[in-house]
Each structure stands twice: as structure tokens, then as C-alpha cells.
């Protein structure tokens, strides 16, 4: 893939890549040395892939993109979007959906390596609306997808975004979300990321006006040779804005996880409150996690706290559980799941919660062997 194609997929320039791709340079280079043809959306999806996102609750309110192309046939009846020739959609979130808007991105392999991209703008004018963003794919030739989403949360509105990714080893995904949170508005998100050859997730949240708030939760659960690179960028641009960021990371086998959490409090953004915490678990001597909080404060009256830890499973907790009769392997799985589940505390929708729990069970080492 030439530099121009890469720039197009990643929505930036090679120079920017140098900076923020520091920990993923090799992974990206390996990908860019392959040729990726532009993907074609297949007419039909295999049943097992369909099952992954065909949730009864959201059948009428889902938007499905196959290799970046909007699929009217797979999407629900209650939502309507128009996609232009460059795979761009604009959507004003309706208030009367009744269920979460379920946006599904499907990666389907071709005969040779393929790439696709799409970019969407979703605006919430008022009220509260939940969105579920899901990434699925199936194994085959390499697929490299890129999704750029721009969220605008207007004055006093509340947007809740939950993303779940579940990708096979042959899929790579670049995602960039920019969120603009206006006065008194609230943006809440929970991200559950797993799988893929390379997953890069950039989340830039701009607390643009006074009293804007964001609450971010996230988990990556990695094994095999999965490589996930998360770049958070929270910008407090106005007075009395608040951010609360909590991530959990787990890496087993030869997996690699990166979490960079940058918080900037601009000059004049007094009264801001910025909290960032990331805790990570290494489950194998060959796994690696890099956690880096970056705090830049240019205002005077600011409350800010950050913390990053990378550690191993608590041996005392393991012994405690075993002393109650729980087998070592089950105790491990319970501990790891519990560690991750702390990031799901804000999810009160029972069926979504069940989806996230199922996601955890699929991705935790040996977690299937529970009681």
C-alpha cells in the first residue's frame, strides 16, 4: 500500500503517524508492505456473522455497513441514512427510536487483501440517545478497515456510546472518533475492544463549552498476537468542564496493548475537573502493555488526577478464592473478569450488559471454564 493510500485510510499524514504511532510503527509497517485492493461489499453474509449482530432488541434500529458500504437490506426499518460516493453519511439522531441506534461495521474478506473506509457524522440535537457501535468480521484474507465518526452533542443533550469489537486475526481496524460536547451536554462511552491483527482507536473528545462533561470507560482484552493501540485525547476548552476516564487492559500470550491518555486543560478553562485512571494486567511474560497518561494544564483553578498501573494478577486474591474451594484456573478467570467488569459499571441496560458479559467470556483466557 503506498503512502497516499495509507494517508487516506488513516486520515492524516505520514508525519503525524510518526508521532502517535510510536508503539505501533512495526505493526503498521508490516501492514503497509502488503497490497490492499479496495474491498467490494458482498451480496450475502454468512449466517454465523449475521448472528453476531442480529440482536432482537435492535432489529428495527440498526445500521449495517459491510466493508464500509451501507446495506439497506441488513439495516432496520426505523432508521434512514443516505451514503454518498465517498462512503460518507450524515445522521441527525431521531428522538423516537425507542431502542439504541445499533451501528454495525462488518469486515468481509475477499480473495486477496482488501481495504475499506467509511466516515459518518452523527448529531444529537437534544434529549438523551444511546448508540451501540459494533465491529465484527470473519477470518480469511486480510482486511483493513477505517471508520471515522464525528459525534456532535448539542447543548444539554446526552449521548451514550458503547462500542464492542470482536475481530478475527486477519482483520485490522483503524477508528477515529471525534466528539464535540456543547454547553451542559454529556457524553458517556464504554468501549470493549478485542481481537484483530492491529486495532487502533483514536478518541478525541472536545469539551467545547461550559459545563460539558464526558465519562469514558474502556477495556481491551488481548491474547494471541493481538495488538491494540488506544489514543485518548480529552480537551477541556471551556470553564467548569469535567472528564472522568477509566480504562482496564488485559494482555495474555504475545499480545500488545497501548493506552495513551492525554488530557489538556486549555487556558481559561478554570473550574475543570479531569480524572484519568488506567489499570492493566499482564498475564504472560511475553505480553506487553504501555500505559501513558499525559496531562497538560494551562488553566489555574483545576482539579486533575491521573494514574496508570501495569501489574500482575493479585496472588493474595487468588489464594483467597482457592482457599474457599474455587479451582486455580477458575479463580484466575473470575479475577480477570472482575477486573475488566469494573469498566462496565455505567451500563444499566440489561441486554447490553449481557452482551458485554458474553464478550468478556469470549475473550478472557480460560474464562469459559467458570462455574
Amino acid at each position: 500500500m503506498d503512502a497516499a493510500a495509507l494517508d487516506e485510510l488513516l486520515g492524516g499524514t505520514a508525519r503525524e503517524r510518526e508521532e502517535s504511532w510510536r508503539y505501533s510503527r512495526n505493526a503498521l509497517r508490516a501492514l503497509s508492505q502488503q497490497e490492499f485492493a479496495v474491498a467490494v461489499a458482498p451480496v450475502e453474509l454468512p449466517a454465523e456473522l449475521l448472528q453476531q449482530f442480529d440482536w432482537p432488541e435492535t432489529r428495527a434500529t440498526r445500521l449495517v455497513f459491510v466493508n464500509g458500504v451501507f446495506s439497506r437490506a441488513l439495516s432496520g426499518k426505523r432508521v434512514e441514512v443516505a451514503q454518498d460516493a465517498s462512503n460518507h453519511c450524515e445522521l441527525d439522531l431521531p428522538q423516537d427510536l425507542g431502542e439504541a441506534l445499533h451501528v454495525v461495521y462488518v469486515s468481509v474478506p475477499g480473495a486477496t487483501p482488501t481495504r475499506w473506509q467509511t466516515n459518518n457524522r452523527i448529531r444529537l440535537g437534544h434529549g438523551y440517545a444511546p448508540i451501540i457501535e459494533q465491529h465484527v468480521g470473519y477470518a480469511g484474507a486480510e482486511v483493513f478497515g477505517a471508520v471515522t465518526t464525528e459525534f456532535v452533542v448539542e447543548r444539554d443533550a446526552g449521548l451514550g456510546v458503547t462500542t464492542i469489537s470482536d475481530l478475527p486475526d486477519s482483520c485490522s481496524l483503524y477508528r477515529r472518533q471525534t466528539v464535540s460536547v456543547q454547553a451542559g451536554a454529556r457524553y458517556r462511552c464504554t468501549h470493549a475492544l478485542a481481537g484483530g491483527r492491529l486495532q487502533r482507536f483514536d478518541l478525541a473528545c472536545d469539551l467545547a463549552q461550559a459545563d460539558a462533561r464526558c465519562e469514558q470507560r474502556g477495556v481491551f482484552a488481548l491474547r494471541g498476537r493481538a495488538h491494540i493501540d488506544v489514543q485518548l485525547d480529552v480537551r477541556h476548552a471551556a470553564r467548569d468542564t469535567a472528564s472522568d476516564v477509566l480504562w482496564r487492559g488485559v494482555a495474555d500470550q504475545r499480545a500488545r496493548g497501548i493506552l495513551r491518555g492525554a488530557i489538556t486543560v486549555a487556558a481559561g478553562a478554570d473550574g475543570s475537573d479531569a480524572q484519568l485512571q488506567t489499570k492493566n494486567l499482564l498475564l504472560s511474560p511475553h505480553a506487553e502493555i504501555d500505559a501513558q497518561p499525559v496531562l497538560e494544564i494551562y488553566a489555574d483553578e483545576v482539579k486533575a488526577a491521573h494514574g496508570a498501573t501495569v501489574g500482575q494478577l493479585d496472588e493474595r486474591a487468588l489464594f483467597y478464592m482457592r482457599s474457599r474451594g474455587i479451582a486455580a484456573v477458575t479463580a484466575r478467570a473470575l479475577l480477570i473478569a472482575g477486573f475488566c467488569r469494573e469498566a462496565f459499571g455505567a451500563i444499566d441496560d440489561a441486554s447490553l450488559r449481557a452482551q458485554l458479559d458474553a464478550w468478556l467470556v469470549r475473550h478472557l483466557p480460560l474464562a469459559g471454564d467458570t462455574v
Partner: protein, 258 residues
């Protein structure tokens, strides 16, 4: 039920237990007292099977089996329970789920049928009623954010639910106010019967006002140096450990006499 003979244990290269002998029969209540650093908690941890405790000499036989060969979870299934001095916080793991997992894991190892959710909840309610504790601890993560007293209550609740044959309580009374202390003692007393044995490790005589022991042992420097009935505890309370600190293990005295 439990026969500990001449037990020597090293922790991080240092010998902590230096020839401890203790025999416990079913139905008995033993109190083990002693000053800080005597090795009381080491005894509890060795019985439960914690890593890092190296047995260099001696034996521990539990119901005819070599206890030291068993994994911690096998010991639990065989009926050994340790109430921790410092119960561990496990964020993200719901207490009820944890207890059900523990109970069913034990039942499975023993070849008994596992309890379904209804049966389990029925059992939980029954135990809560007997112990006079409310169920709010159950809906939280295991020990996470619990006060010291709540953690100890939770230990006793676990004991009541798991119904061990041999319960070792490691300073369960430390840091408790009088109400919590009574609750702990009530929990233990309710469970006392002819088939069950208790080893209660404590600093203070106070707990023994509520849990009346059949035997009191004084541990100094990795050995039991004095054994008696509950009168011994009162004597200790009166005179302090200094009174007994100079005392040597009976075997040493015997050896010295030869």
C-alpha cells in the same frame, strides 16, 4: 481430626514454626494465643495451603490424609476453612456469585450435586437469619470497600455457608467493636457441634469470654509452650506474655533433663 506433629516451617528463608505440635479432635474448640511474631498466622496459612510456606520437617495429618499434599481448593473441599486475618478485596466479583462458585466448586469436588440459584438463595437466607446479618454485603463485590468489621462478618458468613469440618480463625476478633465481636462469637457458637472443630487464633482473652475454649495453647517463638484450659487464658490476661516468654517447649525441658 487434625494432627500436627513437630512442624517446622520456613518463610522467605527464615524459620517461623520450630517444632509445633497440636492435636485437635472433632467437637473441640482450641484457642491459640501468643505474642506478635510467635508464628500464629503462619500456622493458619500453612493449614490453608498458602504458597511460600516451606515445610522442612514434621507432618500435618487431617482425617488420616496428608494435608500438606493437597492444593488449597482440595483442602477447602475436604472441610478446612481459614477465616483470614486480612480478608482480600476482589473488585468486580460479586459476593453472592463468589459464594455460590465456592460452594458449588466444593460440592462438585466432593461428588455432591451442585445447588441451583433457588436452592442457593434459600440457603443464604437461612444463614443470614441465624447470624442476624443483613444481606447488603451480598450485593457488593467481595470485601471491596468493606469496613474492617464488615470484612470479618463476611468471613463468618462464608464459614456458616460453607460449613467446614475444621475452621481456623486467624485473629478474627482483632479490630472489632463489641457488637461485631459478639456477632463473630455467635456465629462460631451456633456452629459448634460434635463433628466440627475450631482453632481460634487470638491475641486477646476478650474473645474467649464469648467463645469458651476447651483448650488454650500459648505459642511463643514457633512452638506451643503451654497448654491448659480456659483458666490459662485468664492467667495470661493477668500476667501478660512476659510471664511465659522465658518458658521453653516441653520437649526441650525433657531433653535438658537427660
Amino acid at each position: 481430626m487434625l494432627k500436627i506433629d513437630n512442624l517446622h516451617v520456613r518463610v522467605a528463608g527464615k524459620e517461623i514454626l520450630k517444632g509445633l505440635t497440636l492435636h485437635v479432635n472433632a467437637g473441640e474448640m482450641h484457642a491459640v494465643m501468643g505474642p506478635n511474631g510467635a508464628g500464629k498466622s503462619t500456622l493458619g496459612n500453612v493449614l490453608a495451603g498458602r504458597d511460600g510456606y516451606e515445610v522442612t520437617q514434621g507432618s500435618v495429618v487431617y482425617n488420616g490424609r496428608n494435608l500438606l499434599e493437597l492444593e488449597p481448593e482440595q483442602r477447602a473441599a475436604a472441610g478446612v476453612f481459614l477465616a483470614f486475618q486480612y480478608p482480600v478485596e476482589i473488585p468486580g466479583v460479586n459476593n453472592t456469585y463468589f459464594l455460590k462458585a465456592a460452594l458449588n466448586a466444593q460440592r462438585k469436588q466432593r461428588g455432591e450435586a451442585e445447588l441451583d440459584s433457588m436452592q442457593f438463595l434459600k440457603l443464604v437466607r437461612e444463614k443470614l437469619r441465624v447470624l442476624h446479618i443483613s444481606d447488603d454485603l451480598l450485593h457488593r463485590a467481595v470485601n471491596a470497600g468493606f469496613s474492617g468489621g464488615e470484612k470479618k462478618r463476611n468471613e463468618i458468613f462464608q464459614m456458616a455457608l460453607l460449613e467446614p469440618a475444621l475452621a481456623v480463625l486467624d485473629e478474627t476478633d482483632s479490630g472489632l467493636d463489641i457488637d461485631a465481636l459478639r456477632m463473630v462469637a455467635d456465629g462460631v457458637n451456633t456452629m459448634r457441634d460434635a463433628k466440627r472443630a475450631f482453632v481460634v487464633i487470638t491475641h486477646y482473652q476478650r474473645l474467649l469470654d464469648y467463645i469458651v475454649p476447651d483448650f488454650v495453647h500459648v505459642m511463643v517463638d514457633g512452638r506451643i509452650v503451654e497448654s491448659g484450659d480456659k483458666a490459662l487464658a485468664l492467667k495470661l490476661e493477668e500476667h501478660g506474655y512476659a510471664w511465659i516468654a522465658g518458658r521453653q517447649a516441653p520437649d526441650k525441658i525433657a531433653a535438658g533433663a537427660v
